[in-house]
Each structure stands twice: as structure tokens, then as C-alpha cells.
Amino acid sequence: MWILRINMTDATYRLEEPSPAYKNLAGRAMTSTLVSDEVPPLCHPLGPHNKLVFSAGIVTGTAAPTSSRISVGAKSPLTGGIKESNAGSSWGPALARMRIKALVVEGLPKDKKMLGAFLTWDAAQDKPTLEFFDASDYAGRDLYAIYPEVYEKFGKGISVASFGMAAEYGYGNAGVVFNDMNKRPSRYSGRGGLGSVMASKGLKFIVLNPGGAPGVSMADKALFDEGRKKLLEALQTHDITKPKGALNSFGTAVLINILNEAGGLPTRNFSSGRFEGAASIAGEAIFEGVKERLGKEVYNHGCSPGCTIQCSNTWYKPDGTEHASCLEYESVWAMGANCGIDNLDKIATMVHLCNSYGLDTIETGATIGVAMEGGLLPFGDSGGAIDLIHEIGRGSSIGRTLGGGTEFAGKAYGVVRVPAVKGQGMPAYEPRAVKGMGITYATSTMGADHTSGYTIAPEILGVMGKQDPLSPEGKAALSRAFQATTAFIDSTGHCLFIAFAILDIASGYQGLIDECNGILGTKWTADDVYAYGAEIMKKERAFNEAAGIGKAADRLPEFMKTEPLPPHNQVFDISDSDLDSVHGEM
């Protein structure tokens, strides 16, 4: 295994043996540890001392199902704290197959010239090798225009990481983008402005071709195989994750209706929990709309190699040509309900523009919602919202203000109702109607982040039992348990959506642990899963505290404690001491 360091100050690279302390670390555990160990917490996120770290998960690059995630970490320009954001792409498996445990981009170039890095396997030397190339021709352009050129230049079998124009402006809202299975620039480590960190380093692309690489080494292949079969069986039996199940048929936007029924679908900048246009933008409407436009039923595809769940969709124009991929729950909500927009074609345009410019869809929709609240344009104005995304992408003065994200826009427009925690815009679950999720938003080391402790499973979906979403009882412990388990899953390289199956099917959970033990030669049990995840959270938390982000930042915005939210007319009534217990009792 290697740690590959790319130093952009002098455009050099070197391969290092990882420290023995890193032996069992991968994915989020690796990125967060490396950032904690090497990045000064008080450094400027776009300055010379920040480092951008890529790491694939423990099982990424193997035959384990739904395991092609890549974690990206750094100090975040959006939150000022530590950040890990992961995406599904062939890029992660390619890195893992070259036995690169972590790829670290460091330093800062002396000029503004953009370079690319092309990484291949040198069979003679039995190690990865890297060449730089001039990438200045690709700067300032639409990602959908430049990805085909990169594929053309480097040929078959490559995977591409990059960022868009949004990152070149240094916005807090700019993601790192990876290719999907159709070479689209559409799979994002979107949250927290990591694209801007990559852009600050002047590294426009990291192109991987793992041809000839040896692949992931395993301590006990038989145990690994046993584990992956158990997990596969769970994924293929559970109603949510099985073929033609909820995710494969309706995509993640199947959640629009159930959150709306529960009164927890944030609407018009978090002023209501119900959106009257929900049904027309939900996963079912996407499925029916595609069926009508293509004349056949279409089930979803995988974003990355080896995914058996396959939740990614494509939306088509009335003439049957492709419009956007993918219309995720979060994206549809952010551009839709949150902005009072109920038209899937308009939403698709907005999502596609975010992918073109390199923006995080959640942060973009949350920001536009705040701009609507601030009177810049009315709720429901889809044309105006599309124009604003162009302004952000082109870097006009108004665009630069909005590119700073939800909280920044709130300050610029004098808005009180600003749905953000630690500077990061809230995703598609209303904390006043789903209290456990509110605790996760408040206490996550990432800022408002639904994936970091998805209590929606028991609170709304009836996965892993049923809990009353309006009750505060026991929710701090629930959020803590989910946050720790999630930190572990984020380190395995599995997509978080395996959780639906493994939380209900015990043999699937065991399969996950067996896979990891098979690869690492460890003897982990379920207790170790929690301990491993808790360890990651502690490191992240310590980094944040040293960066000046402590307890006082583990709070929701004031309006959520004072403004009752229809239809349940509830406020967020979790006490500060309960919030503090999430990390306090870790």
C-alpha cells in the first residue's frame, strides 16, 4: 500500500509507505485521520497548509456489492471545520486497485496555471506512476464539454476527478466531481466546498487508469467471500434495496411523498413541512414521466461498478433526449419544494446546471431558498432560479455572493430564517418534524448533514423498528449510534444505502464485518464497528474544537426553536444538554 503525495508547489509527487498506525484505516477514517494529523486546524482552507485527501474504502475495488465509494477530505471552506464527503464512481475502485491508500494533494502553485495528473500502473517497477499535463485549456468551461475531451485524450479504462467553474471562483459551494458509468461529470463529493480546495491547488484533473494494477490484497479471501455473499443476499432480499425495489424503481426521490405525508418536507425555505406540489416532483412522478416520454418502463442504473441496488435515474425531455442525470431526492427537494417549484423539467435544468458548473445541489437550492426569502425573487419563480444558477456559474457579482452558500446569502440579504448549521445548508428533512435528524444536523462534525446519522430510517421509514419522529425521547442516543455506525460504513467504501438492508437483516450486517475482517485480517465484532466509528468522530470533533468550532456551534438556528412548523406546529425542543450528550457521552 502507498500514500501518494502530489505537491502542487513544485508539481512533484512521491510514494510513501503508510505509517503502521494507518493499517486499518480507509475511506473516511483515512481522510479524517490524515487531515487531523497534518492540517493545522486554524489554516485558511484555500491557503498553502490545507491538504485535500482522497481515500477509497476498506472493501472498495473488490467484488463486494455496492462498494465503489471514494471519500474526499480537507478543512472545509464552507464550515471552517473538517470535512469528508463521499461519492460513488469508478474512480474509487481504480485508486484502490493501484493500492493507493490515500492520495494527498498539498502545497499551492506559484502561478494560476492549471495542471492535470495522469496516474497509471508501472508494471516494470510494480508501483503507480504519475505524469503531469497542462490543463489550462479546460479551465473556465462547462464540465459537460470538457469530460468528453478528457476521455478522448486518455482513452478507454480511465476515471476522472475534477471540479467546475464554481470551484475556480473559490466558492464555499463547489464540489469535487467524478465520472458516472456513462462518463458524465455527475457524481459529486458535493458538500462543504472541497472542489474549491482542489481548485486552489491548481490541480484540474486527477485521471486514473489502473490497467495492470494488482488489485486489493486480502488476508483471508474465503472469509471475505463469505461476507460479501451474506451482504449480497441481504441487499437482494430487502424490499428497499432489491432489484425493482423502491430505490431501483423510483430512485431516492421516492422519499418526497413520505416526508410530505409526515409533515417533514421542508418547503419554501423551511416555512412549512408540506408542499402542495410534492406528488408532481416525487420519484413516482419521475418513473411515470420517463415511461410516458420513452414509451417503456425504465428501472434505474448504478452510479458506479458493482452496485446491485442501482438507484440512479435519468430524466428525459418530451422528445426523448436526455435532460439530466441524476434526479436525487436531495436535489429534487432543494430545487423543488424548498424553492416552491413543482415542475420536473425546470428542476432537471437546475440539476444539470449544477453539474455543469460544479455546484452542490443541496447548498445551491438552500441558498436560492434564502434568496427567495430575502426578496431577490419570489418563491416558485423557476426561470429566476435558473438565471441565478447561471449567475453563480459565471461568477457575476450577485453570483459570487450566492456561491458563498446558504449562510453567506442569509447575511447578504438580511434573512433571519437561515437553515444552516456550522455554515452548511440543511438537507431535505425538517428538524422540527423529525427530531432525531435535527440532533444529527446540530451535532454532526460536518455541519447540517443528513447522511452522517440517518435517523430517518426508524423515525420515518420503519427500518430498524419504528420511533415517533415528533418525540425527543431517546433521540440523542439514537443519533449518536447512527453517527458512529455511519462513520464506519463511510470507511468501508460501501454506499450508505446498504444500511436499509443490514439494519433489518442481521446476517447482512455480519457479512459487512466478515468482508472487512477478510481483507484486513482483523477479528472485529459488532462492538468494534461502533468503536471504530466513535474514534473517527472524536478525531473530527477534536479538529473542529481546535478550529474554534465547539459546543456552541452544535445548535440549530434560533428560528427553529421559536417558530412552530405547520402542519404539526412543533418547534425543535431538544435541550442543549441533550445535544451536548451526543459527543459528551461518546
Binding site: 430487502h238 411523498n257 405525508e261 443528513h450 440517518y454 430517518i456 420503519g462 419504528k466
Partner: protein, 79 residues
């Protein structure tokens, strides 16, 4: 009594012409439960994973009242 029902995702196939989230207005005898409502609509109870009445999750033996709004889901998930 009058009840409004919304069906979602794969449950729509049990009701000819129904589409997800479009309200159906129905007449039910007083004292009817969610289970009775499912039976009347031909939706197998075991396929209902989560049922809401007026925005609160309820068991199938929950007794309905005049004017209630119900929404029923098969297993769904996402993120």
C-alpha cells in the same frame, strides 16, 4: 364517514387509475380501521409498511374518524 386516502409507490397498482399522492375520497362506516380501509381498497395489509393518519404514523388497527386523511406506503427508502 368520509375519509381521504392517498396511496404511493407500488401500492398504486391495486387501485385502477390511481396515481401516487392523488387523493381519493371514500365513504366508510363509523368505527372502521385502517385495516378495513385497506381491505375495501383491495390493498394487502402486509404490503403496507408505513401508514399515516393526519401526518402521524399509525398501526393498521387504528380507528379512523370522519374527515381523516390517510396515506399508505410500501417499504421505501433513499437519502
Amino acid at each position: 364517514m368520509r375519509i381521504t386516502l392517498r396511496v404511493y409507490a407500488t401500492l398504486c397498482r391495486y387501485i385502477p387509475g390511481a396515481s401516487a399522492g392523488i387523493p381519493l375520497s371514500l365513504e366508510l362506516p363509523y368505527g372502521a380501521t385502517l385495516a378495513d380501509l385497506m381491505k375495501k381498497m383491495g390493498i394487502p395489509g402486509e404490503e403496507v409498511k408505513v401508514a399515516f393518519v393526519n401526518g402521524r404514523a399509525r398501526d393498521l388497527n387504528h380507528v379512523l374518524e370522519d374527515g381523516d386523511e390517510a396515506g399508505v406506503f410500501p417499504p421505501v427508502g433513499g437519502g
